[in-house]
Amino acid sequence: MTARRPRRSARAVLTAVLAAIMAATGCAVTPATVPPPLPVTAAVPAEKELSRSYPGFTAVLPREGDTLESLAERFLGDPGMGWAISRYSGVREVRPGQPLIVPRFPFDRGGLSQDRYQTVPVLSYHKFCEAHSEADAMTVTRAAFESQMKLLADRGYRVITLDELYDFLDFKRALPEKSVAITFDDGWRSMYEIAYPILRRYGYPATLFVSTEMITGSRKTLSWDMVREMMTGGIAVESHTVAHRNLEELKDGETIGEYIADMERELSQSAKIIREQTGYTVKYLAYPYGATNSAAILLAARLGYRGALTVKRGPNPFFAHNFRVNRSMIFGEYDLARFGKNLATSSRKALR
């Protein structure tokens, strides 16, 4: 704590007096100029007077009809960034004539503050079904999934992409306070038939981790056509290896050399196949069974993956390990309350 210095209070007094004068007279504290008389009917200030740019931020005078979204679109190029203006300026809604600051520098990176930090849950799904009787640990009913996606909307969650998550993990940016990512593993057809249309309806992006060997277009599995179709609808496709091999442990009778070579094949071949089928180069890996070790991590990094995810339950602070990102599996037996317990977005634990 610094001691209060006397001149600060004197300055405060003078500032207060200044403010009082300005408030009392409604007068601008600038030398008077002599403009032409203003017309009687109210004129809205000229367009160029509505904002002033400074290094790192823009001072904005909102007009009638402006919203956080419209200002975000105009000054940040993305209507979805309204939350950033709100968080920085401390305003819930925009009022015409009330100037505010639109930040253009990365503030609140990683959602870190003195006493708390943000956490981002990543949800993990596999299969889906229509009837309750078909549900099991790995299979979620349509009704349950629908109500879960609706819950996210009702609670004001923003569903983000893995790219956005990893920028957050790299401490490059802030995210909306309640952010969550959605993922699907393996390549089950029921994901396309049941989950995908629901995601589209809510406008949620998601990531599908494919085991390339599984994309056969059989009765229960995806075809590459379906994968490509989903990619146009906001689904990113990433790697879940070729044959869903456990990357953590040696197989029976396998030598270390064979293990390393096989692991390399699983990671690079899956990337190659996905690129051949979709034109897209993968960036992320979901470990089969969530299993990994330091060798797998180093190999994935060497092969160009930006990060990898496990199935260890729990949300992720920005300082999570990029190759050990947690995911919370949503089991078929979960009711909505249990689902909701996997959505925590704030913690103090590591700061205590």
């Binding site: 409604g26 007068c27 504290v29 008077a32 790995m138 456990n246 339950r313 979960y334 249990r338």
Partner: protein, 400 residues
Amino acid sequence: MSRRITLAFLLAAAAAHAGCASIPSGAPGSSGGGTVAAEVPVPAPEGAIAPPDPFAALAEQQRREAAALSKGGPSRKALEKWRVVAALAPDDAGAGREVAALEKALRESADSHFHRGQAYLREKKVKAARRELLLALTKNPDHREALTLLKEGLDEEMIVYTVEEGDTPGIIAEKLYGNSEALVIIARLHELKEGEELEEGRTLRLPLHGVGARDPGPGGEGKEQAAAVAPAAHKELNVAAVAEIAEAYLEESEPGPQTETVMARAYLEAGSFEKALDTVETIPAGESPEEEILEIVNASYYGLGKKLYGEKRYGEALTALGEADPDYRDTASLIAAVEKARRDEAETHYLAGVRFFIDEKLAEAIAEWEKTLALDPGHSKAGKDLKKARTLSEELKKIR
């Protein structure tokens, strides 16, 4: 200096005021502050008026907010606000000074936290290290070293190996894993040739334990369930097998109706305090209220401390009790009791040592006095007597 500038400002304002006709403010007063700008410019009498500057009040509002933020001590938020003020009102030397002062204070504070974090890491105190590095970043988000250490330096399963002269992958594998066959790990992870002689001083990130051993990852096990299923993974895989394996894997991970909190409580009630504490670590954030979790943690450390006290393991008891809130139940007086018991036991050993010494049983006396000091390092008599006895013992050895 600032007073003169502000005074000049004031005089200029007064001059402007004199040249201004009074204009009733058109904006309704709003609680948010800063709406000095008239929304609807009202026609002015001849002789003219400055158009109201809608941004004039913004600098003032930001300055107010900056001053308020500064009250809580140096913070990043305050610095960012003062930077905005300095940009909006470049003639305000005060704002510029605030920015410079805060930049310096925060940079120094961040560096201090960073160095503490490094020190904790050297002592392998990962949690404490993490806390210090996070605090460094709250003060200075641009502290690259703190971020790097936080993200990559706390991984206990990975090491950074510095190549020594003559090292090849095989030699390194032998050094780290006791198994030169593991050289393939080093070679493949870093795209090296098997017999390649490496440049001295080069750093290589490598697994701490090689492969094949179970790798729990930083922070412990959590809910990974792969091991039980791994033997099945080598079957010839087709779609059906994938489904089968996945289902078997999930059978191992039956979530059950119990939450982690309930499990922790159950362990606590059963007296398995260490298991309770381990389980608390796996409680998902937000699952249960903070107070409830804190209660379980305190009760576990308290119970553990009491148990160890009963087993006369005073040092460990004090460590456990030290983790509990001193206000929790009678922790404070329990700690005092343990410390007293430890001192009493130290005294008992001291007196035993004295008796041995009188009986000329030097070795036994020394042993008792070493026990004394282990229990109570501040025991002055034991320290002196031990020294005496050791010297005497040396003399006797020389004579014999």
